[in-house]
């Protein structure tokens, strides 16, 4: 089998396992929508630009974090030692990254749409919402590529959610810094072209996370 | 005006810090602290090395006794 079909097989497997117990992903979406609804109750449809932006990113960050930090469906020693002899660890990491990108993309899309519906589009009309959405997707890509590695590290260390937070959050701060600034730039009416470099930086960060993970993952994975 | 006020407050500090020779006291205390730290670290290192030698000797000694 070629590398690509390996990855596709692992990805298919992950998605099938995820969809088999539907309450997993449903729980994530309910969490996200409930968080958005809480924001709506607190601010109504007339949130200021700054609070809109802040709330949106807080909800997106924690919904995404929540999605990624639950243990991988078949994350035990037996499966690991089986996979160790059948697939290259890099392929396994890439499959996991792509899977997280899809998962986080779904969760953040739902969250973002719910946010637009509940809190109104006063500050994001027309193309601005699309540009904002591009930032959301790139942020969740960066989160996915970072957290795939961190999640593997934490599960190898036998730590739970708190270890993922401790290891992952410091490295996420820069991503959040850039995306909040990008969001507030869009809302303050700055032209897309003048703030698009933030998107470029997010993409660069994702690439950096992925490349580092690709290099280091085998050391993490082997016995 | 408020800014000016805060700026001018630097003046009495200047007189206080240098005019009364207090800067010498502060500098002296800092130097004594760093010398004390150095002395402490020095003794610590010597003690660790001595202990280390003792432990190694003991480990070797116990090995010899088991082989003998």
């Amino acid at each position: 089998m070629s590398a690509l079909s390996h990855i596709r097989f692992l990805l298919n497997h992950a998605i099938r396992v995820e969809l088999r117990n539907r309450h997993g992903i449903a729980g994530l979406l309910v969490f996200a929508v409930a968080a958005v609804y809480t924001c709506y109750q607190a601010t109504g449809t007339h949130a200021e630009k700054e609070s809109w932006n802040a709330l949106a990113w807080v909800v997106l960050l924690f919904a995404g974090f929540n999605a990624v930090s639950k243990p991988w469906a078949d994350d035990d020693e037996g499966v690991r030692s089986f996979l160790l002899h059948t697939v290259k660890p890099q392929h396994w990491l890439l499959a996991r990254m792509v899977y997280y990108m899809l998962l986080l993309g779904t969760v953040s899309t739902v969250t973002f749409v719910a946010f637009l519906l509940f809190l109104g589009m006063d500050h994001l009309d027309g193309w601005k919402a699309v540009h904002y959405y591009a930032g959301v997707i790139l942020t969740s890509t960066a989160l996915a590529s970072l957290l795939a590695m961190i999640q593997a590290l934490a599960s190898r260390a036998g730590g739970g959610f708190s270890l993922i937070a401790v290891l992952g959050l410091p490295l996420i701060i820069p991503v959040i810094l850039v995306s909040t600034r990008y969001g507030s730039d869009l809302m303050r009416g700055i032209e897309f072209g003048d703030t698009a470099h933030h998107l470029l930086f997010l993409a660069t960060l994702s690439a950096g996370f992925s490349a580092l993970g690709y290099i280091l993952f085998p050391y993490l994975w082997r016995d | 005006m408020i800014m000016l006020h805060t700026l001018l407050q630097a003046n009495p500090i200047e007189g206080f810090f240098f005019g009364s020779g207090k800067s010498m006291v502060v500098g002296g205390v800092a130097v004594i602290i760093i010398l004390g730290l150095g002395l402490w670290m020095w003794r610590m290192e010597v003690r660790i090395q001595r202990l280390d030698e003792a432990v190694t000797r003991q480990a070797n000694g116990s090995n010899e006794s088991t082989t003998a």
Partner: protein, 360 residues
């Protein structure tokens, strides 16, 4: 051989003793604080309206640590914009730090905002950037002022630190704050190299390099926290807040948090060999990302820090010789102290392990 091993430690402590002594005892050089209109100025309306060519107003010049009562007649004041220079007459020297000046200027001026300069035989030439903002004059950029005799004077003072607006005496913190970060990066670099060597061993290798990485991160964290504390104090004085939104500060916070995560990760793994490997992987991952961040992120936004623009204090790291004479020894001294601490820490953990083995 033993002498060499000892001498760098003694040398480090001696350097730090010299640095701390000079840091606190070298006086601050003179500088200008304010050039302001006198509040109790009496407006002579008749003279004011009658004067077609000149307006006369009294201004007060306030210095810090200046010596104007020494040869008060030698105190000269100029205002400058670009290459245009105009002298202003000094009316009265009140004391060492206060003097009164008449604003005697032609009606048409090339600019409203002026730098203020003074010349004095003791203090040398002192500047106050944008110290004077005049109103009520006709502003014409093509206006030319008669060019007076002006040459910069060199201060006739004993060894002193340069005066920096807003920073004043806190310039001494330079010798404590900045070397903390340098030392931290040195120690994190040691940890980085140790982690690489830990991972590049063949399977079943020892975890000796892991112990090195751990010890240097522990000591480096201490320097990082000290850097944050000294920086926070300094920020409170110069920028008015304990914490400001600044890429440099964000980077520092992320760095400290990442290494805190590293130490927590070590604490949560029991198995010695697995711990060594996981910690090394996380350390490499984090260090490379930190390097990217600290290089790239500051370019995205304006920084308050020196040499990054937007800073009212130093405009760059162009330290003058009096600062350099203390700053470079300070960096070297703190680095030597940090390395020494790291070695002691490493020896202590190794001893601890030996004792554990012996007890088993």
């Amino acid at each position: 051989m033993r002498m060499i091993q000892r001498s760098w430690k003694i040398g480090g402590i001696a350097l730090l003793a010299y640095v701390l002594w000079t840091t606190f005892t070298v006086p601050l050089g003179p500088g200008l604080l304010e050039f302001r209109e006198l509040e109790f100025r009496e407006r002579n309306e008749a003279a004011f309206s009658a004067a077609n060519t000149n307006r006369i107003e009294t201004y007060e010049l306030i210095g810090l640590g200046t010596h104007w009562t020494v040869q008060p007649e030698e105190l000269r004041l100029f205002i400058r914009k670009g290459d245009q220079i105009a002298p202003l007459p000094v009316i009265d020297v009140i004391d060492d730090t206060h003097a009164q000046v008449a604003l005697l200027l032609p009606d048409t001026l090339p600019s409203q905002a002026w730098d203020v300069l003074i010349n004095h035989p003791v203090d040398g030439t002192l500047f106050l950037q944008n110290g004077l903002f005049v109103s009520g004059f006709v502003v014409d950029e093509s206006a030319r002022l008669p060019r007076p005799q002006f040459e910069e004077r060199i201060a006739d003072l004993p060894h002193h630190f340069p005066f920096q607006p807003r920073i004043f005496e806190t310039i001494r913190n330079l010798m404590l704050h900045v070397p903390m970060w340098f030392t931290m990066f040195l120690l994190m670099g040691i940890a980085f190299v140790a982690s690489i060597r830990q991972l590049s061993q063949k399977a079943g290798g020892s975890s000796l390099f892991d112990l090195r990485a751990e010890a240097s991160v522990q000591v480096g964290m201490m320097f990082g926290v000290l850097g944050l504390l000294t920086g926070s104090l300094w920020a409170r004085y110069t920028w008015g807040a304990w914490w400001v939104d600044d890429p440099q500060l964000n980077g520092a916070l992320v760095t400290v948090l990442v290494y805190a995560g590293y130490l927590i990760l070590r604490g949560s793994v029991e198995d010695e060999r697995l711990k060594a490997r996981l910690a090394a992987v996380y350390n490499l991952f984090a260090f490379v990302i930190l390097m990217i961040l600290l290089m790239v992120l500051p370019r995205f936004t304006e920084s308050l820090h020196p040499g990054k623009g937007g800073n009212p204090g130093f405009n760059s790291y162009d330290l003058d010789s009096s600062l350099r004479a203390v700053f470079y020894p300070a960096v070297l001294g703190w680095m030597l102290l940090g390395t020494w601490m790291y070695r002691i820490r490493l020896q202590a953990t190794q001893l601890n392990r030996k004792l554990h083995r012996l007890n088993e």
